[in-house]
Amino acid sequence: MKDNTTAEVIIRVRGLKNQFGSHVVHENLDLDVCRGEILGVVGGSGTGKSVLLRSIIGLQKPTSGSIEVFGIDVLADAEAARDTLDERWGVMFQDGALFSSLTVRENVEVPMRAIQGLAPTLRRELADLKISMVGLEYLAGDKYPSELSGGMRKRAGLARALALDPEIVFLDEPTAGLDPIGAAAFDDLIRNLSRSLGLTVFLVTHDLDTLHAICDRIAVLADRKVLATGTLEDMLGVDDPWVREYFHGPRARAAFKPSSPDVASGEDP
């Protein structure tokens, strides 16, 4: 496990406040994400997990607070500086958010069009590579999003997020709506890509299996802030009713129990 005191912090959220009308979603929220880690963000419904994600990637303007990604202030810095961020992160939305009028391959090519001098044939080849890397077959590239299943759309969305080899990928509920086998395969995919490409992964999830299988660190959102961060073992010791309920509930026990010894030995080579 990584030592968070020495690792390079690439996302730094400080004093974040999000308010919709009189409803305060976040207040004084602090969060650090280190390079190369897989951070899982959990929390009950309505605790603003997706709002946090949208705030970091600049889709939601917070009421107050500061968000720095690679040292660039997402909220305050000049547009030119923020534009360089777009090719350094990739976002996978819940249902893939593929452009419905484009084929999967064309979807993956969209971010690559920003690269000057990249020939269309080469772009196509690279898009095919990304499609294959996320585990879709070659012919899926010619299909339109409406012709794909939910799991395939998520994979295609991930391929588009990875098109420019970003340093961070944001995943919004990557395994929601997938069957357990598909979800496990998606977990493996994320972990393998993260390891081989050196990706930092920020994922919002409800899936205890995902947390257990791939997350280096977990951040729990509750009471409008990050209540606790740490490894899964740390979470089991946190003294908070919701956290205890979440990590010691029957579903959690089922998810964590059977394979724990294997994973523990597998993680430390």
Binding site: G117, L126, D128, L129, S146, R195
Partner: protein, 409 residues
């Protein structure tokens, strides 16, 4: 796995260099954008078995387009050795270029050896190599005359199936209507009234204005022509016959088709999209009774009324224009209208209304039920419904014209 062989140094090389440099477009952020450059040094070992290359710089998506054509030019029947010691950064695009070269070399029974790759690079190369797409040819549909004929055949078949389906929906409507008459307590009066308001009352302003303007236009155009013969007074007959017999109800039906067929499709289609229709079925509710019957019935009741309003407004517009333009006073218009125009024209016009209403309602409901689980199909079916409904109304009107001509009305 011996895919990436780390070969021993070769000696006695005849060196020549190719430099490719792509200058940074921006050099501001913390990565310094030094990765905008790649240089390939090609050391050709004549008389030996392998080409030796050295890559310097960053092998990333920003630079591959410079390197790729060069690697493409390499002879694929030489063993090739690439030194990666001076590669600062490599991403999947860069790794793909190397893997692509390897694939080509392997195709010719040659190998690619990579030397001095860092540990992460080896990992990256491995995962890209594992993911190299295996290209399969898509099934290409046949072309030529046979395919053309097949396309026509399919279009005819699907057109026929469409007509059959529409007939089935019409039959379903009559069946539910009959059941409703036998079991009146099952009928949803509130829904009927709500739909009647939506379909009828809310359409009154647009229909009235449209008909009024049509009357004005007819009077204006007719008077211009009839004045040449000194037959101005016949403008009354012209307006009365054309509006009462044809235009009043016909244009009303066109407007209602655009307004209501699309509304039916959108409402039923979005319920279909959210599986509400399926939920209804599992709860023992019949979509035809709950959704189609009140809608089509409301249309059936409202369209004749709208047609009547259109007739009145059309005559009003015509009379106004005839008065202004030709000096035919309203009372003279009235006398001429009553004497010169048979009441059968009103009958011939309004008798078409229920048929148009059925066409519009059935087309709208049918299109709504064809919506699949996504928003595009909802949009497509909505516009399909409007086009089909208007087209069908025109066809029906033409058939009525022939019918009435044959029976001499």
């Amino acid at each position: 796995m011996m895919a990436w062989l780390f070969a021993k140094r070769s000696n006695a090389l005849t060196m020549w260099h190719i430099q490719i440099t792509l200058h940074a477009a921006y050099g501001t952020n913390d990565r310094g954008r030094m990765d905008q450059q790649i240089r390939m040094e090609l050391s050709e070992a004549r008389g030996e078995e392998a080409d030796h290359l050295r890559l310097v710089g960053a092998l990333t998506v920003n630079t591959v387009s410079q390197l790729y054509p060069r690697l493409r030019q390499l002879e694929p029947d030489h063993h090739t050795l690439i030194d990666l010691a001076a590669v600062e950064r490599m991403d999947t695009a860069g790794a793909w270029v190397l893997c692509d070269l390897e694939t080509r070399l392997l195709g010719h029974g040659r190998t690619l050896e990579l030397r001095n790759a860092s540990e992460e690079t080896i990992l990256l190369l491995e995962s890209v190599r594992r993911a190299m797409p295996v290209k399969t040819e898509p099934v290409i549909s046949a072309r030529g005359l046979v395919a053309f004929l097949e396309k026509i055949g399919r279009a005819v078949a699907s057109g026929t199936a469409f007509l059959v389906e529409l007939t089935a929906y019409l039959g379903q409507f009559f069946d539910r209507l009959a059941r409703m008459i036998r079991h009146p307590h099952e009928f949803r009066l509130t829904a009927l009234v709500a739909h009647a308001e939506d379909v009828g009352l809310r359409a009154v302003p647009i229909v009235a204005l449209m008909a009024f303007l049509i009357g004005v236009v007819l009077a204006f155009q007719g008077s211009a022509q009839l004045q040449q013969f000194g037959a101005e007074v016949f403008v009354v007959d012209l307006i009365a016959i054309s509006i009462l017999r044809e235009l009043g109800i016909f244009l009303t039906a066109i407007i209602v088709a655009g307004r209501t067929a699309s509304a039916f499709t959108a409402a039923i289609g979005s319920m279909k999209m959210r599986e509400e229709i399926d939920a209804m079925r599992t709860l023992g509710l019949d979509p035809a009774t709950v959704l189609f019957l009140p809608r089509i019935l409301a249309l059936l009741l409202m369209l004749p009324i709208l047609g009547l309003i259109a007739n009145l407004m059309g005559l009003l517009g015509g009379a106004l224009m005839a008065w202004i333009d030709l000096g035919i006073s309203p009372s003279m218009f009235r006398t001429r209208l009553i004497e010169g125009t048979d009441v059968s024209h009103v009958f011939v016009g309004l008798v078409k209304a229920p048929f148009f209403a059925l066409i519009i309602g059935v087309v709208g409901c049918h299109a709504g039920m064809q919506v699949k689980g996504n928003a595009e199909s909802l949009g497509r079916m909505t516009s399909n419904a409007v086009v089909t409904a208007i087209f069908a109304v025109i066809v029906a009107d033409a058939m009525f014209s022939i019918f009435f001509a044959q029976i001499g009305l």
